[in-house]
Every structure is written in structure tokens, then in C-alpha cells.
């Protein structure tokens, strides 16, 4: 006599699956792991003390922010947009000695960036973004790609050659100085 085949009821399977699905839907956090990368300089103790490095005034592009988040660009109050600031930095870096007030060559050009202890992080990121954008746009133009494409290339270890080629002769020199202690 054949035994009856045992049956597992599977009508509720969809319910169980839905329950699990809802659980994972709720707990999922899309990881936001994007941001502005930066390489910090060596520790202050490791810096040579008695060596004085002379940088000509014309090779410095000075950006200062005070504790009210107001900008001072090349010694003058700046109220323009960040897009214009990016373009200013680009012209400064790519000057190649044409304008006697601006940089000698991209290798010598330094973007100096100084904030106050009271500056908000938001403003700091805005300006750093504008400065990095200027360099990224120069690199992207050299390779003939868009900035977005260039950033993908930069993150791709297999395209190191392209990355190095675009950066050749134009090192990204953004110097972030110690913040000032006075407000205002």
C-alpha cells in the first residue's frame, strides 16, 4: 500500500518572504562613501625648521575665509559665485608667465587656502570643492574627457597611465594652512 506523500503547505511562503523583504528594506542604508579626497602634509614636527622656503608672491593664489564665512581672494573681498572662483584659479594656474601678476608656471603655482577656527565646515568644503574642480577640469581637458569621466579614470587603478599623463606638469598644489585663532 503506497504511503500518502506528506505535503508542506506553501501558501504562506509569500507572506514569509514579504516579511523578510520588508525587514531588509527597512534596515538597508545605502552607503554614502563619496567625498573630497585630500592628502595631508607630513606632521609639523617633521618639517625642517631652519630652512626658509621662498615663494614668490605671484605664484600664490590666496584664499582666506573668516569666521563669518566671508571670503577674501587675493586680498580683496569676494562675493562672486564658486564657478567664477574655479575659473579664476584655472586662469591663475595656466598663466605660464603671461600676466606678470599671476603664476610663472603650473608647477610653481600654489593655491593657498586659509580658514578661521570659526569657519563652518560647509563653507570650507564649498571652497575646497571649487579649488579641486579647477585642477580636475585642467586634467580632464588635457585628456579630452569630461570632469566626471576624469574622476572615474582617477579612481581606476588600471588607467594609471592616463591619470599620470593628465597630471604631468600640473601638480595639484592646494595648501591648507593652520586656521587663524582670531574671529572676524
Amino acid at each position: 500500500m503506497p504511503r500518502p506523500v506528506p505535503d508542506i503547505p506553501n501558501a504562506s511562503m509569500a507572506d514569509i518572504a514579504f516579511l523578510l523583504l520588508t525587514f531588509f528594506l527597512v534596515t538597508t542604508t545605502v552607503a554614502n562613501d563619496k567625498g573630497l579626497t585630500l592628502q595631508l602634509p607630513p606632521p609639523p614636527e617633521a618639517m625642517p625648521k631652519d630652512v626658509e622656503i621662498k615663494i614668490q608672491e605671484r605664484n600664490l593664489f590666496k584664499i582666506q575665509i573668516n569666521s563669518f564665512d566671508a571670503l577674501l581672494v587675493e586680498g580683496e573681498p569676494y562675493t562672486g559665485s564658486m564657478r567664477e572662483l574655479t575659473d579664476k584659479i584655472k586662469t591663475f594656474v595656466l598663466n605660464n608667465g603671461v600676466d606678470t601678476e599671476s603664476s610663472d608656471s603650473p608647477e610653481k603655482a600654489i593655491v593657498s587656502f586659509k580658514a578661521d577656527r570659526g569657519t563652518t565646515h560647509k563653507k570650507f568644503i564649498e571652497v575646497l570643492d571649487a579649488a579641486q574642480r579647477a585642477y580636475y577640469e585642467i586634467y580632464a581637458e588635457k585628456l579630452g574627457v569630461t570632469v566626471d569621466q576624469w574622476r572615474d579614470i582617477a579612481s581606476d587603478p588600471e588607467r594609471k597611465a592616463d591619470y599620470n599623463k593628465s597630471r604631468e606638469g600640473v601638480p595639484m598644489q592646494i595648501s591648507i594652512a593652520e586656521p587663524t585663532k582670531v574671529g572676524g
Binding site: 563619496k34 585630500l38 579612481s155 593652520e178
Partner: protein, 153 residues
Amino acid sequence: MSKFKKKANVKQEIPTSSMPDVVFMLLFFFMVTTQMRDTSIMVKQKLPQATQLRKLMRKSLVTYMYIGEPSKTDQFGKEPKIQVNDVFIEPKDVIQWVNTEKAKLDEFERDQITISMKIDSEAKRGIIADVETELRRANARIINYSAGFKKEI
């Protein structure tokens, strides 16, 4: 009345036999992409926005640090604090923390440790600069300021 009694001869049910399959597929997708957060964040986190975002490439080298105003202001005050793992630390403890984090990595890649700084927009530069100085001393010099995406500056 007879007007409404008319019934169409067409079958109207949606076939539901494949529903569990569809649901399971979605389930597996979310199971795979889910990351359980092992730390609960105790500071305000409204990240700033930027256009030139770069992805963090090697997740195993990344360590997170959170800076912002504490969520429980009555207990911890309004000044921005630094949170790592599950505790608040002071800038002077950063070196020690970096060294514990470095010890978790293989020896040859310890210098490539990347600190992902998740800093609230309203935090002030002062505390961040203090942390950066300590990070330089701890020789953890690759950092990433976490930011949200914005289209145009």
C-alpha cells in the same frame, strides 16, 4: 437593471503563482546589499554638498570618524564632538585610536589607511584642524571629507 448584469467573458485574475519568485528575487537583492551598521551615530550628521566627489576605492582600508553637535545636547553640551566607533574622544586621543585601527590592517598597508571624515555642515573648522594635526602626527594622511552630491556650484 439588466444593464449591470452583463459580465465579460474575459478572465480577470492576475496570475499570482510567480509572486513568491519575484519577492524572493527582491529579498535576495536587499539581503546582499544590506550593510548592518555596527555603530549608532550620536552626533548630528547633515553632510555638506560638493560636486567633485570621488569614490573610496578600498573599503578594507577605510575607517570612519564622525564630527558634529551631539544629538543629546542636554547630556553632552552643544559643542561639536568627535565620535569613533561608539565613543566620544578628544583630539589628543586621535593618535591612539589611529594606532588601534592600523593594528587591524596588514602590516604592508598600514600607511594607506584612509580616514573617512563624516562632518556635519555646521561644525567649525577649529576642531577639525585639531583632528587633522593629530592625524598627521599619527601618519594617517589620506583623508576623505564625506559629502553629498550636488549638480552645480
